[in-house]
Symmetry: none
Subunit: 133 residues, 4 copies
């Protein structure tokens, strides 16, 4: 099974941090592997305390459902197919922007999660991380 | 890092209690420090039992995301940026009025949370507490 | 039903704090009412963060089983009658010294819990609080 | 209040990783700040999945009680002062070796936690991390 090494995770985190600095918004960044288990996490100085958990769970969600949390969020609004999914998995499912699957040869092998700003900021920083993978 | 002492917390609680008595609504009032950890809590005689937890978690939420829970609540409605955030952090994120960050020199160093009445009452009492800080 | 008012709780906490200062050990002190619900809590400056939860749960345990947590602890050692009781009630049962029932006319109407030092220190400070009730 | 920056955490983690490689045992390493909140975590390739949580909670425990988890573990055996403490704080209290407070000027300002080997290995790697702080 392809997966995410600690070196991979650090490369992803470094790219995300660089983007976070560029936009001037401190972030939490987390990376999980093919099993959805945490490989690495950083909280930049000044980033929200409540986003430690959210960044880790966005990364997990992106891997667990092979989807960005932004798209899953759209599918989880009232009346949509997955409305209520955030009550599953003991509350680990995050349904707002900032989580992206890490893929290799078209297959999901991990996830990256970012939390600390607006949905748009989180997604932008997260994309910078995912691209570095 | 600046934080909140027990003396600070008592001053905040006393001001909130005075306002709660003024409007005739018994309240739970809680104060957390820079790390989001509880410094002090009181439940006024006759205040809701279920609000012990809510007041503590409102204080935590205000500190954890550097925002009033009133504003976070607006951002967490269906279709908004943070819809679903209340499922994170093991259910500790409160998304209705009554939590306000405690700030010093423009920096969040703690939080105060109030619960026991309507959203408007909770926020009013909470503001009285935050102002005393 | 007799119970514990916020004024009662404050008197208990003040006595416990005075004793904690006398022995030079900052403490967390919590008081619960006849229903086992938190009435008030304080964390003295410098007291352990992990003792917020423990002080509240010692107070709850003392009320919930009408017994000091010191005595319950003796009964909960391997081979004793209540061995394993600390896994019940979602982990809220504390089985070491520092929790004492608050009684009126021979009836338990609340509890006080202290955490922040050795078992002996916690129990001493807790007794000072209970006596003030 | 002094605390732990991301740069501090990375220095601690790098020293722990170097020691883990030296003894040939992949580890999880986590660092928390003065409030007990996670600053950074890494899981070295091949380290136990179940140790993600344990490393984070060892770091938290060391900060929360200003003590090594090795010493707390000795005090938490049957018949000792803190027997049963691991049921508190929703199961976050780790009572075996591998967690050490991070101190500055004699004051605890954070914690480091290591998990992935024997108690002796975890403590050795953790000490290397703490010393780098």
């Amino acid at each position: 099974m392809e997966t995410v090494t600690l070196d991979d995770a650090r490369r992803v985190i470094a790219a995300a941090e660089a983007k976070a600095e560029e936009i001037g918004q401190p972030m939490n960044v987390a990376v999980v592997d093919a099993g959805g288990n945490l490989v690495a996490h950083v909280r930049m100085d000044g980033a929200w305390l409540g986003s430690v958990d959210i960044s880790i769970n966005k990364a997990w969600t992106a891997r667990a459902f092979d989807i960005t949390t932004k798209e899953l969020g759209e599918n989880s609004q009232p009346g949509q197919d997955f409305y209520g999914i955030n009550a599953s998995n003991e509350g680990k499912v995050m349904i707002f922007a900032g989580g992206i699957p890490l893929t290799r040869d078209g297959q999901t092998v991990g996830g990256v999660g970012v939390s600390g700003g607006t949905g748009k900021q989180d997604h932008t920083v997260c994309e910078a991380g995912a691209t570095a993978f």
